[in-house]
């Protein structure tokens, strides 16, 4: 049983059963039943495409409200670097960080600062002997889940390093305990400010055996107006930010990959492109590469559905914000840059789950597939979606699996009706 808790939620009242999400779901996880969308939880990878595309705003990402932090004595904010790209004319990250303190947080730990550590240690990892190349980034939770479910052969290529959010949570907790030894673990709350619904699921479900150190995930769009009101211009703003160009670069595609300081990398974004790249890597037909960065969202994390701004505008803003920053502010000594600390790794990935399997028995699967092939020939092949399945092929599968009725095909049904009327007439 897959008990993965997803973060994509459907408001049945608002869904009118149009076929937009149906047609664009990259894993064909959606069907329309009884005039509204139904998500197959085993297939869903939380990519957020359906949230992005829904005209009726019926698909939403479920995440917490800021009030979920009230139960903690010491509240820590972990802003994703994408947050910095949401504001016009922002010339200093400190406005954002101080703003977070003003809206009720006790401390702020930048995810971009943790990202610079991850970048430094990724460079060490790439030089480690026996590492399977190309190394695939573990930062995008959608990609990690997708590989786990569909590309088991690439499991060993995924770098077993925790993503920046997780490292930030770990270091933020350490800092809190150092500054306030009287605090117990339960009194410290860590809140990730996220552009990404998949991070919500990741925090809820963990990662293989790993449990997240983040307590609450709120969306950038949810705190945006509260935060912008707290970001007042000031000449004596306390200096808080400790991230450089590399850390902020993680918000956009290519930022993570260029930080490995090696030109043999590939960076791709957009879930369909990601799937195509993975298919090709699996076939072994790629140039010699050291590192692969894959982002489910177009543009990278700035394209996350829980952010406020157009990803390209956000990217342009981050470019100017990064411009006069130091390359990196990770402050690791030469000695520290040689070894990756033990706590930075995770052990296991989601297990391969052949969800698309027709039956447990090969003979039965073959018989079913043969039926599917025959049925496809009878279907119109125009993939109209009116039956509630994304393609005629998917519909044929549903019929053979007894999850749909052949009469749901309007076109086949109309022909049947015409024949009947002709006979009657």
């Amino acid at each position: 049983m897959d008990t993965y808790e997803h973060s994509v939620f459907l408001d049945v009242e608002k869904c009118n059963g149009c076929t937009t999400c149906l047609k664009h779901c990259p894993t064909e996880a959606i069907r329309i039943r009884d005039h509204h969308a139904v998500i197959n939880e085993q297939r869903c990878i939380d990519c957020g495409e359906c949230i992005r595309l829904c005209h009726n705003k019926a698909k939403r990402a479920v995440c917490s409200k800021l009030s979920a932090m009230d139960r903690f004595k010491w509240k820590i904010a972990l802003p994703a670097p994408t947050l910095y790209g949401q504001f016009d004319n922002l010339d200093d990250v400190d406005y954002v960080l101080n703003g977070l303190l003003k809206i009720g947080f006790d401390d702020v730990f930048e995810v971009s600062a943790a990202a610079e550590l991850v970048s430094a240690y990724t460079r060490v990892y790439l030089k480690t002997e026996g590492v399977k190349k190309p190394v695939i980034s573990s930062a995008c939770p959608v990609v990690v889940r997708l590989i786990g479910l569909r590309f088991p052969f690439l499991n060993d290529n995924i770098i077993r390093m925790l993503p920046p959010m997780e490292i930030a949570a770990m270091l933020a907790r350490e800092r809190a305990k150092k500054q306030h030894p009287e605090l117990s673990d339960d009194e410290i709350g860590v809140c990730f400010i996220s552009p990404c619904p998949a991070k919500v699921s990741y925090v809820k479900n963990g990662f293989g055996g790993y449990r997240s150190l983040v307590d609450v995930v709120v969306s950038i769009s949810d705190i945006y107006f509260q935060l912008i009101n707290a970001m007042k211009h000031s000449d004596d703003l306390p200096t808080m930010s400790s991230s450089g160009m590399i850390g902020i670069g993680w918000a956009t595609t290519g930022g993570e990959a260029t930080a490995i300081f090696n030109e043999n990398y590939l960076a791709a974004d957009g879930i369909d492109n990601v799937i195509r790249v993975l298919d090709q890597i699996e076939n072994g037909n790629i140039p010699k590469l050291e590192f692969i960065e894959l982002n489910a969202c177009t543009g990278g994390c700035v394209g996350g559905v829980m952010s406020m701004q157009n990803p390209f505008i956000a990217k342009a803003r981050l470019q100017s914000l990064r411009r006069y920053l130091p390359v990196s502010q990770n402050f690791l000594s030469k000695e520290e840059e040689k070894y990756i600390p033990e706590g930075y790794f995770f052990n296991s990935l989601p297990t391969y789950n052949p969800i698309s399997r027709l039956s447990d028995s090969m003979a039965e699967s073959m018989r079913m597939m043969s039926d599917i092939q025959k049925l496809r020939e009878e279907l119109p092949g125009i993939d109209c979606g009116s039956c509630g399945a994304p393609t005629c092929r998917a519909f044929a599968e549903d019929v053979v699996r007894h999850r749909a009725d052949l009469r749901d095909c309007m076109i086949a049904h109309r022909e049947e009706l015409e024949q009947y009327l002709l006979k009657k007439g």
Partner: protein, 142 residues
Amino acid sequence: MSEALTFHFDVDGENFTSAGQASVQVKKNLRQLGLTPEIIRRVSIAMYEGEINMVIHAGGGMADVTVNEDTIEIVLTDHGPGIKDIDQAMQEGFSTAPDSIRQLGFGAGMGLPNMKRYTDHMHIASTVGVGTTITMQVNIPK
């Protein structure tokens, strides 16, 4: 014993972006049949290399995949120039691909050797000026 399943694909010539589509589709089908990742990977690599070969050398062709309970057979048929010396073509690094193709990252001379490596049986029948038929088999362990 259930009836064999067959899949037929036309491989479009002269187009690298569509080359590899048959192999992706076969991969999907084999996944649905519940084959192990290892078998799926071997079949899809052999298919992929074969498809690319047909695009580079023969202007396209056909791929026919037959799935039995104990074996998967892939037959690639083209009406290209044919292979003059099959033994030579099987050597790693040997390639007759033109420079323009090599610049795209193909033509490393690993296509046929890889197809042999990833399958349990491979046979090439080729007549110069007529075309080539490659038959490959991957056994499914019990």
